[in-house]
Amino acid sequence: MAILIDENTRVLVQGATGSVGSFQTQIMQEYGTKIVAGVTPGKGGRKLHGILIYDLVEEAVQGQQVDAVISFVPARFAKDAAIEVIGSGIRLLVLTAEGIPEQDVLIVLRYAAIKGATVLGPDTPGVISPGKCKLGVHPHTMFMGGPVGIVSKSGSLSYEVGRVLTKNGVGQSTVVGIGGGPIWGLSQEAVLEMFEKDPETEVIVLLGEVGGRQEHDAARFISQYMNKPVIALIVGRTAPEGAQMGHAGAIIEGEEGTAASKIAALEKAGAMIAKSSLDIPELIKKIGA
C-alpha cells in the first residue's frame, strides 16, 4: 500500500450533508474512494449519493469496518466530532476544518495520542494516493500514480507541485497535506518516516514555508534517519520579516522561522533545494528515480 490509505481503505464522512461535505463526498466517490457511510447529527436515515447518513459515529461503525474518517464538521463543533471519532476506535482522522480553537485542537490531539489514533490536520486538504484512494479535497486530475511522496503544509502548494510533476510525467505515491497549523497532528517528520519505510516511495518532496519550526525537525530527521533522497521547497523566501502570510504557521518565529534558516538546515541535512515548483521535475530526473 501507499502510506496512510490505499484502495481498500473504508471511509466515513463526518459532516457529509453540508454543502462542502456533500460536494466533496461525491467527488471522492467518483475518484473511487470506498465511502461506506456519512454522519451528520439530526440527518440520520437519509441517503446521500447512495450512502447512508447516520446521526452518530457509533451507529455508522456498527456492523461494518471503518478505517478512516474525513471530517467536514465546522470549527465550532470539530472538537466534539473528533473526540467522537477517536473514542469510537477509528485509527485515522482527517480534520479539514480551519479555525478550530487551539485548546480544542490540543485536547483532540492528546486524546488521539492516548487512543493511538492518527490525526491529519487540522486545516488540511487531506491525503491522496493517486489512482487508489482520495481522502481529501485535492484537484485530483493534477495527480497520477508514481514513485514520489509529497508532504506539504500548504494544500495549494502541493497541488502546484503535483501538477508540475504530473505534466512532466512523474507520478506520486502519496500526497499528504499536514495542514496550515499553527498546531499539527501528524508532523512533517512523522510523514517523512512513513515515506522512508514505504516501498512504493522512491523520492520525497518536502514542501515547507516560512514560520514555525517543523522544517528544522524534518532536517534533523533527514540527516539522521533517511536514506531516500529528499527535495525541499520552502516558499515565502521573499516575505518581509514579521509578515503573517496566510497560515498561522507562517508567522516568523525567531531565527528558526525564516525561510533562509530552514533552507540552510535542509541543505545541510542533505536535501536538494528547489527554488520553485518548476525545478522539481528536473531534480527528480537528476536523481534518476
Partner: protein, 378 residues
C-alpha cells in the same frame, strides 16, 4: 488578539493576581489623577518598549506634562502611541519570568519560568537556555502541585504556596479565556509580595465566539485608543475574511491558498517584479469574497497589474470565476488582470471568464512572466 498591557493586567487582577496601581493616560489632563513618583508606560502591542524609550520614571509632576505630550506623539515599531499607563513604582528585589503557553512542537501547554526575568529574557534564552525552566502540562490531568514545586525550587522561591496560587490562577485564566500565551515578565518578588510588573496576553481569535462580550469589549477599547482609521483591507483582515499584507510594490496579487500565494510572490520576485501585496482568501473563498478581495487589492493606487493565482482544491473555480466576472461588470476597471485558473471546477470557471472576455492561463510561470513584463511596461 494581543491585549494591551493594561488590558492584560486587568484580566490578571480580576483573578486576584497583584499588579501595580495604575491610571490610563490619553492626554496630559489625565495626570491630575496621578501621584508621584510614577512610571509612564506606552500602551502599544509590541515588545521592546524599554529599549525604545517609552517607559519612563517621573519623580515629580513638574515636567510630567511635556513628557506625556512627547510620548503620545511617538511611534514604536510602526505603532503610534495613543495611551500610557501611569503606574506606582514597585520596589524590585528579584525579577522572575513566568509564562504559560502552547508549545506547538509537542502539542502541550507549557509552563516556562526563569530567575532571570526582565527585558533581557530573550538574550537569556539564547545564551543560557539552561536558565529557562520548562514543565509540560498534560491536558489529560492538568497542572499538578509537584510541577509547581519543581519550578519553585528551581527559582529558589521561599513562599511556595503564594507561587502555586499564582501559577494556578494563570492556568485558570489561560483555560477560561482561551488564551494562547500569558506572560508575566518581570514578576517582582518580595518585599512587595508577587507583583506582575508587565504582562502580555494573547487570546485565541478562533475561540472568540466563546467569549464574545470579552472580545468585543477589548476590541472596542483598543479601537477607541486608535485615532488612525483602518483601511478596508485591515478591517477585512481582522475579521478573518481575507489575509492581506501590503508589500510596497506594484504587482497586486490574489491567491486562493497561502502556499500558492507565497510561491507566486517568490516567483514574481525571482522574475524581477515587485509585489504590491500578499492576499489569500483561505477557507472563506467564494464568489462574493473574490469580489470584495479584488476591490481591496485594487484600491491600492500603486497596483499596475493584478495577478490572480488560483488552484482550486476546496475552492471552486466556478465560484471564483463568478466573483471575477461580477467585479468586472460592476467596476470600470483599467488595471490589467492576469489570471491563472486550474483545479476543482475549472472546466466550468474558465469558459465563464472567456465569455466575459477575460483570458485564463493554466501555468503559474506564464502569468508571472506576463505580469512582470506588463508592470515594467506601464
Amino acid at each position: 488578539m494581543r491585549l494591551l498591557e493594561f488590558q492584560a493586567k486587568r484580566l490578571l487582577a480580576e483573578k486576584g493576581i497583584s499588579v501595580p496601581k495604575g491610571v490610563l493616560i490619553t492626554s496630559p489632563e489625565d495626570l491630575q489623577r496621578v501621584s508621584f513618583p510614577t512610571v509612564l508606560k506606552a500602551q502599544v502591542p509590541v515588545g521592546g518598549r524599554g529599549k525604545a524609550g517609552v517607559i519612563k520614571r517621573l519623580e515629580q509632576a513638574e515636567e510630567a506634562s511635556s513628557v506625556v505630550y512627547e510620548m503620545l506623539a511617538s511611534t514604536v515599531k510602526g505603532h503610534p502611541v495613543e495611551a500610557l499607563m501611569a503606574e506606582e513604582p514597585v520596589e524590585v528585589c528579584t525579577q522572575l519570568y513566568v509564562a504559560y503557553l502552547i508549545d506547538k512542537q509537542v502539542n502541550m501547554p507549557l509552563l516556562m519560568v526563569s530567575s532571570a526575568g526582565g527585558i533581557d529574557i530573550e538574550e537569556v534564552a539564547k545564551r543560557t537556555p539552561e536558565r529557562i525552566i520548562k514543565k509540560y502540562i498534560d491536558p489529560a490531568v492538568g497542572v499538578q502541585d509537584y510541577a509547581i514545586r519543581s519550578l519553585a525550587k528551581a527559582l529558589e522561591i521561599k513562599d511556595v504556596r503564594a507561587f502555586a496560587d499564582l501559577i494556578l490562577k494563570i492556568c485558570a485564566i489561560f483555560q477560561e479565556k482561551d488564551a494562547t500565551l500569558i506572560e508575566i515578565n518581570p514578576l517582582a518578588l518580595p518585599p512587595n509580595g508577587q507583583v506582575a510588573l508587565d504582562a502580555k496576553i494573547l487570546l485565541d481569535d478562533k475561540a472568540a465566539y466563546r467569549h464574545q462580550e470579552l472580545f468585543d469589549d477589548l476590541e472596542a477599547e483598543q479601537k477607541q485608543l486608535e485615532r488612525r482609521t483602518k483601511s478596508r483591507a485591515e478591517e477585512l483582515s481582522e475579521k478573518g475574511q481575507i489575509n492581506y499584507v501590503p508589500l510596497g510594490g506594484d504587482i497586486g496579487m490574489i491567491a486562493d491558498g497561502a502556499g500558492t500565494g507565497m510561491i507566486t510572490l517568490d516567483m514574481i520576485h525571482d522574475a524581477g517584479g515587485k509585489p504590491a501585496n500578499f492576499c489569500e482568501m483561505g477557507g472563506m473563498a467564494n464568489a462574493e469574497n473574490m469580489q470584495r478581495t479584488m476591490e481591496v487589492v485594487l484600491s491600492n493606487d500603486h497596483v499596475k497589474v493584478l495577478i490572480i493565482s488560483l488552484i482550486g482544491g476546496l475552492t471552486r473555480m466556478d465560484e471564483m470565476a463568478e466573483g471575477i466576472v461580477q467585479y468586472l461588470k460592476d467596476n470600470d476597471q483599467s488595471v490589467p488582470i492576469v489570471i491563472r485558473m486550474c483545479g476543482t471546477k475549472s472546466e466550468a470557471g474558465i469558459p465563464m471568464l472567456r465569455e466575459s472576455g477575460v483570458d485564463a492561463y493554466e501555468d503559474l510561470a506564464t502569468i508571472v512572466q506576463i505580469a512582470v513584463e506588463k508592470a515594467k511596461e506601464l
